[in-house]
């Protein structure tokens, strides 16, 4: 069995899990300024209160798994994106602490400051994750040793920014669909219902722009489609899922709408993986310097050991995740333990 391919897929699963799960709580952060008063802001925070931390663990585990399975790719990518990642880290730090600390004082200034931190960090993190994906799609300049040859400014071209905006719009839509399931019925619920339409519209525009730009500019993004004709099926699923969002919202089936949004995100991550394969970090300047899954990998033995660890761990992870989501499945209410 080819453990390189298995680990490429497993990393894709972790990334998709992260994007689907943390995507909606980042989206809630992006929509947070639209809440009109303190009660509404608290409802938003408590909608993600028990689960955002577990969602973020998918990113941490993605990082750990990349380090273990493909250390060359981890080392190259993380040092190449040094400055961008420092901004990601500051965003994640502020997000975690804003959620935790906001409710610890009733001073309006204290709360306003943390509200801003929560919004800005959610927006910045979403944008930068998109920028990273955009850069991965077009590649970065690497030398023969696989070391990055550019600066921070080489990483913020038009395409990465476009993908960043797509990610922001997508997470905002995902967050609105999630909130619609979680906030109590009433005036706020109706407003969130309208945001679903607005954010879906914005996402659609960004999706079309990004698709066109990718097909025109990013050479090789579709080359693997010739190898694997079934990959076209993922495009179909992706488009159907996007179309199903407004259909189910209109039919007042918000659970299905949220599920469609999850499928949309997972399908986009899958398409990203298909475009990238077999590379983890593509060299824009010279394709021969690209870090493929074979060049960047740990030894076969380590990939095998890690696979065993993943097989032992993933059922447990899914059990905890389902248990927690089940425990906190109801609409939010503000209680004595709320943020």
């Amino acid at each position: 069995m080819d453990f390189h391919a298995i680990w490429f897929v497993l990393l894709g699963v972790l990334l998709a899990g992260y994007a689907v799960l943390d995507g909606f709580d980042l989206g809630v952060g992006i929509l947070h300024p639209l809440a009109r008063d303190d009660q509404e802001r608290r409802l938003f925070l408590n909608a993600i209160g028990p689960i955002w931390d577990g969602n973020e663990v998918w990113l941490v585990t993605f990082g750990g798994a990349l380090f273990a399975a493909f250390p060359e790719a981890y080392a190259t990518a993380f040092s190449a994106f040094y400055t961008a990642l420092m901004f990601v880290l500051s965003a994640l730090i502020f997000r975690a602490t804003a959620i935790e600390f906001r409710g610890k004082s009733s001073s309006p200034r204290w709360r306003r400051a943390w509200d801003f931190a929560f919004f800005a960090s959610s927006l910045l993190a979403s944008m930068l994750f998109g920028v990273a994906v955009g850069n991965a799609m077009i590649g970065i300049p690497l030398n023969d040793r696989g070391v990055f040859l550019g600066t921070f400014w080489d990483e913020i071209g038009p395409y990465p920014i476009l993908v960043g905006l797509l990610t922001v719009a997508m997470f905002a839509m995902h967050g609105a669909l999630y909130l619609y399931l979680k906030v109590p019925h009433g005036e706020l619920h109706q407003r969130v219902g309208r945001w679903m339409w607005h954010t879906w519209g914005m996402f659609l525009v960004m999706y079309l722009l990004t698709t066109i730009y990718t097909l025109v500019v990013v050479h090789g993004a579709t080359q693997n489609f010739q190898r694997w004709p079934w990959a076209a099926g993922i495009v179909v699923v992706n488009v159907l899922a996007i179309a199903n969002v407004p259909r189910t919202v209109f039919a007042d089936k918000p659970g299905q709408a949220f599920a469609s949004s999850c499928v949309t995100i997972a399908a986009l991550v899958a398409l990203f993986g298909i475009a990238l394969w077999p590379n983890l970090v593509a060299a824009r300047n010279n394709p021969a310097n690209s870090l493929s899954v074979y060049r960047a990998a740990s030894s076969d033995k380590t990939l095998r050991i890690m696979f065993v660890i993943a097989c032992l761990g993933m059922p447990l992870v899914l059990t905890y995740t389902l248990a927690v989501y089940w425990t906190f499945r109801r609409r939010v209410q503000i209680g004595p333990h709320s943020y």
């Binding site: 981890y74 040092s79 030398n143 992870v317 905890y320």
Partner: protein, 511 residues
């Protein structure tokens, strides 16, 4: 010291890891305290234990959030600042980090939600289970991190091989083979020679800190005559924990000393200011003078170091004279951090024994001066945890992956013709060769500035929130939730209030 990428990255790592490490030992220690309180509640059904558990859970939650937020930084930094290191060790070291994510973080974060938000959503037994799982998760996290760090200190179960590229041995642009460490035996990687000793020492350090944290706040309440019943019970439980673990830490420290002498003799020589190879005295205080190769102002117990390490007061202890000068760790920093840690540990043994004796006599809570010492001692406990790690990490320098030494068949060190220890240098990696190839000093200065500002701010906020919670104190349970003799009507009323199901309301009704 030149402000190059190596120095700056070390500075940043020291800053971020020391800030991060304020929180995990506290959450590990408090996790044990909370599990104990909830178990007592389930056993005795006395509401005071639940009040106490709820109070410590609040403090736990804010501390845990800080640990999570600052912990992600650590995982990223291996790649951002130490890319060459990551390439060299990823095959081994990365596996431990990934295992930490899968086995520890998901467990902790999942059940933390139940712990913090689930008081009124799940029954007390499931809540207790969640507390146990969070506590266990935080210890699993310690296990995998210490596997990774101990492997750096005493590598085992790996071999250094040339990497292959496209099926051929890989040489870099200047013709040097590209080498890295690869796992040969995963079990040997995990149970490397220093892992068990260091894990035990770290966990006990965390338990002691958790106990001192609880005692500090309880002593404060007792001095202020607030929440006295709560404070007395919390203090007594924590004192028992602190006494047992302070004594246990002495044994663990002794085991670690012998392990370090066997595995990293240069580190032990720096800890003890042992410049010459000769029977070793145990220095109590002093200031090493590296130029003159002597310890100034030294007060030492003759022969005790040799006795502790080898069971013989006259056995020679390897000194820095047998270590190549280039491989000396920073002696002064290692000596001082190590001695400060030992001093605090010794102080804790004396303090907890005295307090336990007075507790047994029944006069402890009248000794206000002693309670004041307990109020401030939590800072010493934090310091001891930080200093111990600083000593361990500074003592490892100049290596980031510590190479083995040439030994004879019996395991004794082999010396070269000049009487110097022989390092198997190919197995190790020097810290100065470990940084990212593609980053500049400017970038690292920028990120150090960013972390300094953010962490300074967060520290103030965290302390302010803790202070606020401590001043508010433990809150009595809300009357409808747990009063005795509750009628069915009241239970139904509560059910409507909380939106809970009937079975959950039954779980919550008192016996």
């Amino acid at each position: 010291m030149p402000l190059d990428v190596v120095t700056l990255s070390r500075l940043q790592f020291a800053l971020t890891i020391m800030f991060h490490y304020l929180f995990p030992p506290l959450t590990i220690g408090m996790g044990v305290v909370m599990a104990y309180l909830e178990a007592r509640y389930l056993w005795t059904k006395e509401p005071i234990y639940e009040i106490a558990a709820r109070f410590w859970t609040q403090l736990f939650a804010v501390t845990f959030a800080m640990g999570v937020a600052t912990g992600i930084v650590m995982e990223f930094e291996f790649g951002t600042n130490w890319a060459a290191y990551s390439r060299f060790v990823g095959d081994v070291f990365g596996s431990a980090l990934a295992a930490e994510g899968i086995f520890a973080f998901f467990l902790e974060s999942g059940f933390l939600a139940v712990l913090v938000f689930g008081w009124d959503k799940v029954g007390p037994k499931f809540h207790f289970f969640a507390t146990l799982m969070v506590s266990l998760g935080s210890m699993f996290s310690a296990v995998w991190i210490i596997v990774a760090n101990s492997w750096q200190q005493t590598p085992a179960g790996d071999r250094i091989v040339q990497m292959m590229r496209d099926g051929k041995p890989w040489f870099d642009a200047s013709g040097h083979p590209v080498m890295r460490a690869e796992i040969v035996d995963f079990h040997a990687v995990v149970f490397n020679p220093s892992f068990v000793d260091r894990l035990v020492h770290t966990l006990i350090g965390a338990f002691v800190l958790g106990a001192f944290f609880v005692m500090s706040i309880s002593a404060y309440y007792l001095l202020r005559k607030r929440h006295e019943e709560f404070a007395r019970r919390s203090f007594s439980g924590a004192l028992l924990l602190a006494t047992v673990f302070s004594l246990a830490q002495l044994l663990s420290g002794d085991a670690n000393g012998r392990m370090v002498a066997r595995q990293q003799p240069a580190k032990l020589a720096a800890f003890e200011g042992q410049f010459q190879t000769k029977p070793g005295d145990l220095s109590i205080v002093g200031w090493p003078d590296v130029q003159r190769k002597t310890t100034r102002g030294e007060v030492a117990i003759p022969g005790l170091l040799s006795f502790l390490l080898h069971g013989d007061r006259h056995a020679p202890v390897t000194g820095l004279d047998q270590v190549p000068r280039a491989y000396w760790p920073p002696v002064t920093a290692a000596f001082l951090t190590y001695h400060a840690m030992v001093a605090i540990g010794t102080f804790f043994i004396a303090l907890t024994l005295l307090a336990s004796f007075l507790r047994w006599r029944g006069t402890l809570f009248e000794k206000r001066w002693l309670l004041w010492i307990f109020v401030v001692s939590v800072f010493f406990a934090v310091a001891a945890n930080e200093l111990g790690w600083a000593a361990a990490e500074v003592g490892r320098q100049p290596w980031v992956v510590y190479p083995g030494l040439q030994r004879d068949a019996a395991g004794n060190f082999l010396l070269d013709s000049h009487g110097i220890l022989q390092y198997r240098t190919a197995e190790g990696l020097l810290t100065r060769d470990a940084v990212s190839e593609s980053i500049s000093s400017g970038q690292v200065i920028g990120s150090i500035a960013m972390f300094s500002v953010i962490y300074g701010l967060l520290l103030l906020v965290w302390l302010a929130v803790l202070n606020d919670k401590i001043h508010k104190g433990p809150q009595p349970l809300s009357p409808p939730a747990r009063t005795t003799g509750q009628s069915l009507a009241a239970a139904v009323g509560e059910l409507v209030d909380h939106g809970a199901s009937l079975s959950e309301a039954k779980d919550e009704s008192p016996d």
